[in-house]
């Protein structure tokens, strides 16, 4: 089996440079690649295009990179938890492409499955459709949306093995699986890195062929955005 292990986040992101297009897994703060984000903040590279469902919060997740003005452009579906984001957007410092969440996910799938474009009805008749090719199938209108082309995908899994196979936990799977498949180079950080052979081949969500580098992350904060509970 091919060994994909790198020692740490710093090593994993060492060849990510100014101006690149990066994908970040996660939904809200759930399942974000905390170690990779910290390494990119430390590295301080700029002019990045980021593809991520959300933009983090002011002091966590992609919010940390926004605060340092490392992003030139953000492609996301929902960014409503981030004052700094709104400030940079309104001031024109940050270019923003808001797209439907399913379109975001499916453009990742398209990249991972070698499909140059997909059709979706999401956004037909709205400003999202402006300038896009429309097409009617069976009486229904669809937009043609293009596969993403990202230099790197940075994802977080629960478990991974040395061959790069990944298993996610619960709803932390979200965009991590599709982005892992979509990146030209995919870096996976995992909570538990195990030797190849320890994961059941039937339980693997992302096969190792899609992962070029893997490392065990540390000090996971796993912050909760909306702590909702019921009383006993």
């Amino acid at each position: 089996m091919i060994n994909k292990v790198v020692p740490d986040a710093q090593t994993a992101v060492s060849d990510i440079v100014n101006g690149m297009t990066l994908m970040f897994g996660g939904f809200g703060l759930c399942g974000i690649p905390e170690n990779c984000i910290a390494a990119l903040v430390e590295k301080g590279i700029k002019e990045l295009t980021c593809i991520s469902n959300n933009a983090g919060v002011d002091d966590f997740g992609l919010g940390l990179m926004l605060k340092q003005r490392q992003l030139k452009k953000m492609i996301a579906s929902y960014v409503g938890e981030n004052a700094e984001f709104e400030r940079q957007l309104l001031s024109g410092e940050l270019e923003v492409d808001l797209i439907p969440q399913g379109t975001l996910a499916t453009r990742c799938l398209a990249a991972g499955y070698g499909m140059p474009a997909i059709f979706t009805p999401a956004g037909v008749g709205t400003e999202i459709a402006e300038g896009k090719e429309m097409r009617n199938f069976n009486g229904k209108e669809y937009l043609m949306e293009m596969a993403f082309d990202a230099d790197f995908a940075l994802v977080k899994a629960w478990k991974g093995d040395t061959a790069g196979n990944l298993i996610y936990k619960a709803t932390a799977r979200n965009f991590n699986h599709v982005m892992a498949m979509a990146g030209k180079i995919t870096i996976a950080e995992v909570e538990h890195l195990v030797p190849a052979g320890e994961l059941d081949p039937d339980h693997i969500h992302t096969p190792g062929v899609y992962v070029q580098r893997i490392f065990e992350g540390k000090d996971y904060e796993k912050r909760i955005e909306q702590r909702t509970v019921r009383s006993r």
Binding site: T120, A170, A172, N174, V229
Partner: protein, 218 residues
């Protein structure tokens, strides 16, 4: 007049046995509290879960287990997790029977606007555009009137659209309205203590009133 929980309670009556349902953020989330126990209903959360359970007991929150509103939740017997592409795959393939979501505006032909106020608010559409473009049945939970006292039930939407000709039913603090194929809002029920005249006054779009309009039973 209904409060938010009243709107949720009334919408819950639209849910049938065997339905897969997607609940949006806000009032729609409250609908889960009023689904009759005897119905077998599965809630989909578009971040990757079928079979959404109640909030966890304090101390049992799992940061890896949230709903699309980023709230901590639980699973049920028979739940399944999946990735975001499959989640919107099943939405596009119309495997979800009912979508309930909020709106800023709804128009006579069923257009909905709920994601952007130009120059003021740009949070993004999240999964709403995908849901309204594909859902078999869409019910909107909303206030009839905005904070400035203006009707949100309009001849045409003024805000950027989320979807076109998709809303089938609206439940507000004042009324239940059906969006009819020929265009317009057909008044189906009045909220307790609300008169037809009051609903007319609060509705900027074409209101269709036929015969006696019953008061809601909730």
């Amino acid at each position: 007049m209904l409060d938010k929980n009243g709107i949720a309670k009334r919408i819950a009556k639209e849910i049938k046995d065997g339905f897969y349902v997607n609940l949006g953020i806000g009032i729609p989330t409250l609908v889960a509290n009023y689904i009759p126990q005897e119905l077998n209903v599965v809630l989909q959360s578009e971040n990757g879960l079928l079979g959404m359970g109640p909030f966890p007991y304090e101390g049992e929150e799992d940061p890896d287990l949230i709903n699309a509103g980023k709230q901590t939740i639980t699973t049920l017997n028979g739940s399944a997790f999946f990735d975001s592409a499959m989640s919107f795959g099943m939405i596009r393939a119309q495997k979800i029977d009912l979508t309930i979501l909020g709106a800023m505006e709804v128009s006579e032909n069923g257009d909905i606007a709920n994601w952007k106020i130009p120059g003021k608010l740009v949070k993004g559409m999240g999964g709403a555009m995908d849901l309204v473009a594909s859902a078999k049945n869409i019910i909107v939970a909303m206030q009839h009137i905005n904070k400035a006292g203006e009707s949100k039930i309009l001849p045409q939407c003024t805000l950027p659209l989320t979807g076109v000709a998709c809303v089938k039913k609206i439940v507000t603090e004042l009324a239940v309205l059906d969006v009819v194929p020929e265009g317009g809002f057909k008044l189906i029920e009045r909220a307790p203590g609300v008169s037809v005249e009051e609903i007319k006054a609060a509705t900027a779009g074409k209101l269709i009133v036929e015969g006696d309009i019953p008061e809601m039973e909730i």
